[in-house]
């Protein structure tokens, strides 16, 4: 039995390479993921209006069903899914009214006992960064990596519990364990413009330009992310020159490269930012 895993809607279609590389890389490290038998969209955004429990129902149902797997854990890798599921779980656990209303609505007796895990936390706490360091070779030695968390992983700090809200370090520790070199990247928790890609292109283009500029100034050779929307915005709105110099990868793809998993299993063929220079150097 693997650890219960919620891929989310984007990972089954537009970000299949994030799903593929996550499963392949973790399997190579002896961590099996077991996709939940039934799941829906998580809702993607946590409702910020008070008492908007309808906006939490989708996530609450996923959490309640995942708890029935009996493992006590749920893994998800998409930044949006992780953000929403973790915050809804926090609300169920700590807010009596939220718990009561959602219980009544779902007719399920779930009390927020699940532990929501990001694969970075699995790599740190289950595999161990020291074990990872010993497992990977020197393929990525000297490769300068910008760790791009975006806005969803670390804020709000109390609910997400993912490190400092504007300076988490788990991804840098992961990159060090891979034998690569995390750069001091000031854009690490800046927002890429997110869903405004549908409404305000200019906003996203400006944010993406700043993020590439910051990554370039600190000598990055690759940007890694955990978010399909960050990846899409950077790939779509990044200027061609930047994209060819600094490809954007999922952190699981970089992990897969370090573990010498064939690149077709990591979804690296035919992507927009060309990762080949990185692979050649690696």
């Amino acid at each position: 039995m693997g650890i219960p895993y919620f891929p989310g809607c984007t990972l089954h279609v537009k970000a299949k390479e994030l799903d593929d590389s996550t499963r392949a890389a973790l399997a190579a490290l002896g961590v099996e993921l077991a996709e939940l038998p039934e799941w829906t969209c998580c809702g993607t955004v946590f409702p910020l209006a008070q008492n908007n429990y309808m906006g939490m129902v989708a996530s609450a149902r996923i959490l309640s069903n995942a708890a029935k797997q009996g493992d006590g854990r749920l893994v998800t890798v998409c930044s949006f899914c992780y953000h929403v599921l973790k915050r809804v779980n926090f609300a169920i656990k700590n807010n009596d009214e939220a718990r009561t209303k959602l219980k009544e609505y779902l007719e399920e007796d779930y009390d927020g006992g699940l532990s929501l895990l990001h694969p970075l936390e699995l790599l740190r706490d289950e595999v161990g960064f020291d074990a990872l360091r010993n497992r990977v070779g020197e393929r990525l030695k000297g490769v300068k990596v910008a760790c791009y968390y975006g806005c969803m992983l670390s804020r709000p700090a109390r609910e997400m519990d993912f490190g400092a809200p504007e300076n988490p370090t788990i991804m840098e520790e992961f990159v060090e364990a891979l034998g690569a070199e995390p750069v001091d990247f000031p854009g690490k928790t800046k927002c890429c413009g997110s869903y405004q890609v549908l409404n305000e292109h200019e906003l996203v283009a400006g944010r993406v330009k700043d993020i590439f500029k910051a990554a370039s100034l600190c000598g990055s050779q690759v940007i890694i992310t955990s978010c399909p929307l960050c990846r899409f915005n950077l790939d779509t709105f990044g200027e061609a020159e930047n994209r060819s110099k600094i490809p954007v990868l999922y952190f699981t793809q970089l992990l897969g490269i370090a573990l010498e998993i064939p690149i077709d299993r990591l979804g690296l063929a035919g992507q927009d930012g060309d990762p080949k220079p990185l692979l050649r150097e690696a």
């Binding site: 800046k190 413009g193 869903y195 549908l198 409404n199």
Partner: protein, 126 residues
């Protein structure tokens, strides 16, 4: 809506006290959308304190990406992202959104990740 009603409604929906704002501007300095906003988050907070209903018609509330940088930085502990959501919510409950499916190009829709569609329509569409 009277001035008092507007401010009370924002307080109720956001669960935040706008009168805690001391106009320091940290929210605006770090805001993702500041480059294209007509009114910075600090100014939005000020208009709410005055009960000025013009704040409901400003474009900035629709440019917010709910990245929570303002919330993380506010020295008065105001969850400003919730205040922006309250202003959007008042509009959305009246049927006034800014995003319409028919305005989106089909070829763009074919490329965009599903999560962007769901989140944008939840935030910006009535």
């Amino acid at each position: 809506m009277t001035r008092v009603e507007m401010t009370l409604q924002v307080k109720e929906i956001s669960g935040q006290n706008p009168f805690l704002c001391m106009q320091c501007g940290l929210c605006s300095a770090g805001c993702t959308g500041r480059g294209i906003m007509d009114m910075l988050p600090r100014q939005v907070m000020r208009l709410i304190q005055f009960g000025n209903a013009q704040v409901l018609d400003n474009r900035s509330i629709w440019m917010c990406t709910t990245c929570l940088t303002c919330t993380a930085r506010c020295p008065r502990g105001i969850d400003i992202a919730r205040v922006m959501e309250a202003l959007r919510t008042i509009n959305l409950r009246r049927g006034d959104g800014v995003l319409a499916p028919e305005d989106l190009a089909a070829e763009f829709l074919a490329e965009i990740p599903q999560m962007a569609l769901t989140s944008a329509f939840r935030k910006l569409s009535a």
